[in-house]
Symmetry: C2
């Protein structure tokens, strides 16, 4: 925490059909002064131009699940995203080293789900959480989601560095640039860079002690038929309600035939990433979380 | 108009990532009785299984722009959708013949744009308009859009038959099944089949004389840079407001730099298909229309 920040990376287009990040990086390319601050360097890059050109999430596999240390070292993995990941890791990492090329990665995402303005964190490092608490103070509507993952090792782009996170905003359909959330995302990135400027200059007023988060419990799949295809979707109550509080007996899914499937667990949970398009193939309809205040 | 209806086709999955139609056809496959009515036959089919499997709009080209008579007769056109179109045309058409295999096609679509529950019509045939007026009476919220097209010849799936139209519902992200609009679409299809049952039985109470429509004026593209890429998106005023009334001076687009681009035309217009993901590559941000009552 006492070390200075030397270099920060802003990455976008990790999923080629999430246009908020794609166009924010375009904006920075046109006007790099927007991300210049005193005392450290900011780099920015499109991480998956191949997917951007097709306007798809990925070409061969999800880049944001590809940063697994053994895989990055495995020369026999040669899909488009495996090769990309090796390049990005060389540029920003390498992952797992004591001294990575950049100190912090902010990866820009959007979701078809009603997630509002949110941060997805996958590490427990002090600096990361201080930045997030600073953001939450400026933007009280910001939601903090601690992700426990769908892979054994956290394999996000931002896992290359010890510190970092993803910005996740929605609802935005894939392939659509939505003005309001574009400018909100830009503002958040600006605040993050301000934080590092203040940190390096010793001008941060305080350390944050606690923060309210949504803590990953589990991923919940759609009901599916014998063929593996979904035969129900999320109930209308949840559709446009990110961070929906589920209590035993609440409608959860509705089948194509109109039958309501209820939430059966005794424990209350908050549902998020509800009906995200990209998660149909991954096998989850939403993520169940616990709302809590944690020490940081 | 006096002729009986013998066969009606309900088609879905023409765009493989528009799941409302995909899953409604799934539902009919599981329970064909849902579309059985007295006095005529209903057939239903997935039109683009290749695109459905990839969860993309198309494999090689937009199937819903492929039903052009000369192209259907051209054996040298052999892309995936060209071949599909020939098959579908053989099954339901052929297009342009006096006696097509089916009398009426309803093609099921969804859009990322806030179109609500709407019908897109591309012909001026009496039967089509009587069906639509009947639907509008039952569902007053239904919007009727008369499409003048982005191809010289109307080339929709439903253009195979003289009569027919597309159901278009939104906002729905690509790759998402939204419960409310799924059941609304199903209801509409049911009413359409009811109409034909009544028509054949001579039980229709009246002929409709007029209907309120949104009549195509022109397609409006996003502002683009020299590289052809967009450098602005639709203004937040329009984003979630389907059928937005534009008056000279209204904000229309906002550039990535935050500059507002205004609507400059003297004539008022209603904007629809605002910020539809699939239209970025086609080169339009919205469709401008005129609201009017027409004789039918």
């Amino acid at each position: 925490m006492s070390n200075k920040i030397n270099k920060v990376a802003i990455t976008g287009g990790t999923h080629g059909n999430e246009l908020t990040g794609v166009y924010l990086i375009n904006k920075y390319k046109k006007n790099p002064d927007l991300v210049k601050r005193e005392g450290f360097e900011t780099v920015f890059m499109h991480t998956n131009v191949g997917a951007m050109e097709k306007c798809t999430r990925y070409v061969d596999k999800d880049l944001n699940r590809t940063f697994i240390k053994n895989d990055l070292a495995n020369d026999m993995l040669y899909s488009y995203e495996d090769i990309l990941a090796k390049n990005i890791n060389a540029k920003l990492g390498p992952k797992g080293s004591e001294k990575t090329a950049v100190d912090f990665i902010v990866d820009l995402h959007s979701t078809t789900s009603d997630m509002g303005l949110s941060i997805v964190i996958d590490n427990d490092n002090k600096l990361t959480w201080q930045v997030v608490a600073y953001l939450k103070e400026i933007e009280p509507n910001l939601h903090i989601f601690r992700w426990k993952g769908d892979t054994k090792e956290v394999s996000f782009v931002n896992s290359i560095t010890k510190d970092g996170f993803a910005i996740e905003v929605g609802p935005i359909p894939q392939g659509v640039l939505r003005a309001d959330l574009f400018f909100e995302t830009e503002k958040l990135v600006g605040y993050i860079l301000d934080y590092f400027e203040k940190l390096n200059a010793g001008k941060l007023g305080k350390k944050y002690k606690t923060i309210e988060i949504y803590d990953h419990i589990k991923l919940l799949d759609f009901p599916r038929g014998e063929d593996g295809d979904i035969n129900a979707t999320v109930h209308p109550n949840l559709q446009d309600n990110g961070y929906f509080k589920l209590t035993k007996g609440d409608p959860l899914f509705v089948t194509l035939e109109g039958e309501i499937i209820k939430y059966k667990e005794d424990k209350e949970a908050y549902a998020l990433f509800i009906n995200e398009a990209a998660y149909y193939e991954k096998g989850f309809a939403m993520c169940l979380t616990e709302k809590k205040v944690i020490d940081i």
